[in-house]
């Protein structure tokens, strides 16, 4: 199996879907001639033409809204927000029009919105956010956040072929750092199925996206403790069974995400465990996340805000000793 970066896997996955399904098309800012701010669609305009690779005006609501219309009319648009942060400008179309469409009037909206997310490179408050929790409060949206190149490709294919609007979070930190074997050809990884990134017995770290490799690194050698790492892969639907099964096995849980703390995925997972697996716990569910602040620009400030490897180590040590 060939090795590829996370970025290459996303690009390959998108290209495979466009070759496989002529109803798939891309739209977004600077995705055509320039190949996208991160080059995910590099070379696409040459292969698929300007109709299927649409360099849109700088207008996120129009990008999302136009995709909604094209989707209900039988196409499968894949929108790129240049940065995940910019989804705020198209939020209304996503949460009010796309998300509620099927519940209100029985129409499917098979569209995907790609969100290059996450911080760690001095992007500042508007190029670093992890906005996934916004979408957990909008019933009708599916939300995925792959952590490996192979998952990135397979989850993207599943997102594009899903009959619902899917928010696809691709963490910028992983783009060129995450490398791994990626199957050739097209394949789908089903939405809503978590992945056991490492089996363990003493404690579970639950994470997704860029926090998975960091969780593996932080717990690789933790005084011999056998740490399980569960990669959620999908946040909606959440693989409740996988979460609860791991809790019942290890009885101790650290939930880690880069997004801010309050009402985040960690809070949701902790609440699920409290409701469904309280008797199985041997300690409090611990969250390791960014505090409730915007992501600052200057490197020492940003490092202070984003969860680091040592933060996870410390949280795990404390919980193991509980």
């Amino acid at each position: 199996m060939p090795e590829a970066t996370y970025l290459q896997a996303i690009s390959d996955g998108l290209r495979e879907e466009m070759r496989h399904d002529e109803t798939v098309f891309c739209l977004g800012e600077d995705i055509g001639a320039f190949g996208g701010a991160f080059k995910v669609t590099d070379g696409f305009i040459e292969e698929f033409g300007t109709q299927r690779v649409w360099d849109t005006p700088l207008a996120e609501a129009a990008i999302i809204g136009t995709a909604v219309g094209a989707a209900v009319e039988g196409l499968r648009p894949v929108c790129e927000m240049q940065f995940a942060d910019f989804i705020a400008c198209g939020f209304d179309q996503l949460v009010n029009v796309a998300a509620k469409m099927h519940y209100r009037q029985g129409l499917a909206v098979p569209m995907t919105v790609r969100l290059p997310s996450g911080g760690g490179f001095s992007g500042g408050p508007f190029h670093s956010q992890n906005p996934e929790a916004w979408f957990l409060q909008a019933p009708g949206l599916k939300v995925v956040a792959p952590s490996t190149p192979a998952d990135a490709k397979g989850l993207l294919a599943a997102a594009i072929q899903d009959p619902n609007p899917v928010v696809y979070l691709e963490h910028k930190h992983l783009y060129r750092r995450a490398k791994g074997e990626v199957p050739e050809g097209r394949y789908e990884i089903p939405l809503g199925k978590a992945r056991l990134a490492r089996e363990g017995a003493d404690l579970t770290v639950i994470a997704y996206g860029a926090m998975v490799p960091l969780a593996l690194e932080a717990t690789d050698d933790l005084e011999g403790a056998r740490i399980e790492v569960l990669d959620l892969r999908s946040l909606v639907p959440l693989d409740r069974d996988a979460v609860l099964a791991s809790v019942r096995k290890t009885s101790k849980v650290v939930v880690r995400h880069e997004a801010t703390r309050s009402c985040g995925v960690g809070a949701e997972v902790a609440a699920l465990i409290a409701e469904e697996a309280f008797e199985d716990l041997d300690g409090p569910v611990v969250r390791v996340s960014a505090p409730d602040v915007p992501i600052p620009f200057s490197p020492p400030l940003e490092r202070a805000v984003l969860p680091q490897v040592d933060d996870v180590k410390e949280a795990c040590r404390e919980l193991l000793a509980y």
């Binding site: 849109t56 005006p57 207008a59 809204g65 909604v68 209900v72 099927h102 029985g106 499917a108 009959p163």
Partner: protein, 364 residues
């Protein structure tokens, strides 16, 4: 038959369209006597349905508030009448006439407003917040003008597939102040999308009059976005139809979008809870003397149309529709959490297109 020979962007085919529409006449005089009767019929049906719904509201049978399009019947009927069966529509809350033309039965509208299982959305939505997708309609949301970008997307699909079809949507003049209106106008202009924007200037955005809404007449903005804009008397159903038929033809033949500003007046409050105290009496009376139904009815009576018989038929239809709607069950509470996600992809169906020119196309 007019054909266009653009190629399909999706499959690269250079085959000319095989389902081209008839050459649309932009002359309202091309309307047959039966078309004219139909125009009046749908305006009468819209008003009667809304009057019946308001009555049900006052009886406490319509939950929430109640919104209607009294005084604006010529806008929705005249514009939607120009659509072909395979065209698609995102219809606004003051445009019941467009739904009726596409084939929605008044009984289902009344059931919808009463939150019954037999309504178009089965109680998921109230008021005019619906679109029967089997009839090619995508229902509106409360945020205005959110359906403008969505209509652009429908039009984009037609354009990419090389189909001579039109997406039509409606907006109020109030929504022209919102950013999404401008994003949609810009995208439509840049892509020359086959979309028709019907702007209903009904003088007030809730209570806010035109002079507090904009400094430039909205129709002038069309030119600024690079496409055609026309202003018509929104209380003259044939004028609205003529402008709409021309706009649809322009869209179908690759000429791009059109903004049609229809000057009209909202003759009821924003909702049934609104006493309209902000509307100057003279303004109200000015428009009351220009009621679109009264005007068209007088004209057809002169031509020998038995309008009394039409009114009697509409009343009978509404009596039956009301009985049917009241007999519908309320939705089962156990279903409230169902259907958040789709597991299949129902396609938009075709709508009724009663304009005689479309009948010709259908039967050609």
């Amino acid at each position: 038959m007019k054909t266009t020979t653009a190629t399909s962007a999706v499959n690269g085919s250079s085959e000319p369209f095989t389902h081209a529409p008839p050459a649309a006449s932009t002359e309202a005089s091309q309307l047959t006597p039966a078309d004219r009767t139909n125009l009046l019929h749908f305006m009468l049906l819209m008003r009667a349905t809304e009057e019946r719904a308001l009555s049900l509201y006052r009886q406490g049978k319509v939950p929430g508030s109640f919104y209607d399009g009294r005084g604006q019947e010529a806008v929705s009927v005249g514009s939607a009448f120009a659509l072909g069966p395979r065209d698609r529509a995102c219809i606004l809350h003051r445009d019941l006439g467009a739904h009726l033309i596409r084939g929605v039965e008044p009984g289902r509208v009344l059931a919808q407003m009463m939150g019954r299982a037999g309504g178009i959305t089965g109680g998921r939505e109230g008021n005019m917040h619906f679109g029967d997708h089997r009839l090619g309609c995508v229902g509106m949301v409360s945020m205005l003008p959110d359906m403008m970008p969505v209509a652009c997307g429908l039009a984009l699909a037609f354009q990419m597939r090389g189909e001579p079809r039109v997406a039509m949507t409606w907006c109020g003049e109030g929504s022209t102040a919102n950013g999404q209106w401008h994003e949609a106008m810009n995208v439509a202009g840049v892509r020359r999308l086959p979309v028709v924007f019907v702007l209903e200037n009904n003088q007030f955005a809730y209570s806010t009059p035109n002079d507090l809404e904009f400094a430039v007449d909205p129709v002038e903005r069309a030119g600024a976005y690079g496409f055609a804009g026309v202003k018509v008397d929104g209380n003259d159903v044939e004028a609205v139809f003529a402008a709409s038929a021309e706009a649809c033809e322009r869209a179908r033949s690759g000429g791009g979008p059109t903004l049609i500003e229809c000057e009209t007046m909202r003759m009821h409050g924003h909702g049934a809870h609104d006493d309209m105290r902000y509307v100057p009496r003279e303004l109200f009376e000015h428009w009351a003397a220009r009621d679109p139904i009264d005007r068209y009815e007088a004209r057809l009576r002169e031509g020998g149309v038995d309008v009394d018989a039409m009114r009697a038929a509409v009343k009978k239809e509404l009596d039956e529709a009301t009985d049917w709607a009241l007999a519908q069950d309320m939705p089962d509470p156990a279903t409230a959490t169902e259907g958040v996600f789709a597991d299949s992809e129902p396609v938009l169906g075709d709508g009724r297109a009663p304009w005689s020119r479309w009948e010709e196309a259908t039967h050609a």
